[in-house]
Amino acid sequence: MTRSSIWGTGLLGAPVLMLLFVFLVLPYGDMIAMSFRTPANGAPYGDAWTVANYFRAVGDPFYLGVLGYTLAVGTLIAVLTLMLSYPIALHLARVGDRWHVLFYICVVSPLLIGVLVRNFGWMIVLSFSGPLNQMLLGLGLIQQPLRLLFNLPVVVLALVHVFLPFMVLPITNALRNIDPALEEASNSLGATPWETFCRVTLPLSLPGVLAGVTLVFALAMSAFVTPALLGGQNVVLMPTIIIQQLIGAFAWPFGAALAMVLSLAMLAEIGLLTLTMRRLTRRIGRWS
């Protein structure tokens, strides 16, 4: 490279690198540092350093319980999302060009309307005078409207709803990358459509499945707004606790430590998942 082009490169990269270093790298660093500080009265954090926050985060059975609960809920959401997403992904991958846009918008729509509007919609649907209650009443299945909000199933439902696009899109991509000739070959060799699906399509789509599951799991573990709005006091997950510590209790060091513990737990489970899937995907690696 010539000297002038090194200057040019520097000039191009400087704004972005400065912005990201100051307002991304330093804040993350600050958060890690914060988790090692002592708490204080009247201020968000104290002057000294300590590891006590971590001991409390992992040692206190309450917080450990919440962590485990969050991990379990996250896994449940990932699995449910996968089950609902796969049929949609199959459809989206096969649909013709003219219809593709329409269905694509349908799939992406939960993302585009923002978390608040989504949850608001669920609140309307599931409210006392909402359509679901009305339908159940009308069908004679219940005598009185049910209190459908502020419980875990509703939170899971709403989260699965918003995470569907995140699962559908990677799987759709993986499916579209499968050479159609492979399925034709399978059929010509005598396999039924179900067999072809199990032995050819599904395995070859695993890289997309893994990507989707990883993404959804991470998102589910860090969901805050939906559990707050639709779960209220009855659904206590890690992000909720963390925000409480930060905004409510003004205990920033402990909140930071909880956030770090959550992140580490998330990374651990994702790592585990990736490793176990690696044996499966290694054979298919070239197609992903």
Partner: protein, 261 residues
Amino acid sequence: MDRALRYVWGLLLALLYGFLLLPLVVVVFASVSGGQVLRFPPEGFSLKWYARFFSDDTFISALWLSLRLALVSALVVSLLAVTSALFYRRLSARWRGPFRALVLLPLLLPEILTAIGLLFFLYRLGLGSSLFGLQISHIVVTLPFSFLAVTAALQQVDPTLEEASASLGAGALETFARVVLPMLRPGLFTGALFAFIVSFDMFTMSFLLKPVGGNTLPLALFDYLKYDFDPTAAAAATISVAFALVVVLLVERSVGLRRAF
């Protein structure tokens, strides 16, 4: 047997797509309800809730703030994305991965972590609860979208075109302005639109970094829902949705949704 299976499959798909669209449909219909109470199906048709929305100062100023934040984000992020994409292209293969990961960090990590980190950091800088802090956080979080769109577009530009331009006497700046930039336009446009939408709908970040006395539209809606549960909120929500729809249509018109991703 085959036909029955196809019907079942079709029904399943219809249910799933219906599930995807349900909250959206419900909110839009509720916003034009003629009655007093938030219910679905609505009784009658009326636009009075929109009138309520537009005459409510809290909502209007929140809408205004959201629009400003989103516009500034889209503009700044587009500019940064262009310089970053050019920078990225000049990097050797070794540095490309790390740089890309850095820019995409807000996408890769949970939003709540980024929000918390910024909360601490801005507070220590004295910028906690400031408009500037909130704007910066929006920029940092929407940059990945624009970066992805612009780098993808830049990759499509044939390098021999730039060589041809140079051989004809155009310097680096002129080559960029006359050859590269026009070809980046679709990617820039897409990236800017997505940045706009993401900023407009952002909740968690704005929740933690809220400027004193100010509210974005999602935050105003959140506050409103804590006390009132009437269709004005649905009107506010539908307006957000309308923006999103406009964005999607603009992207589809200019670039095509398939190519945008």
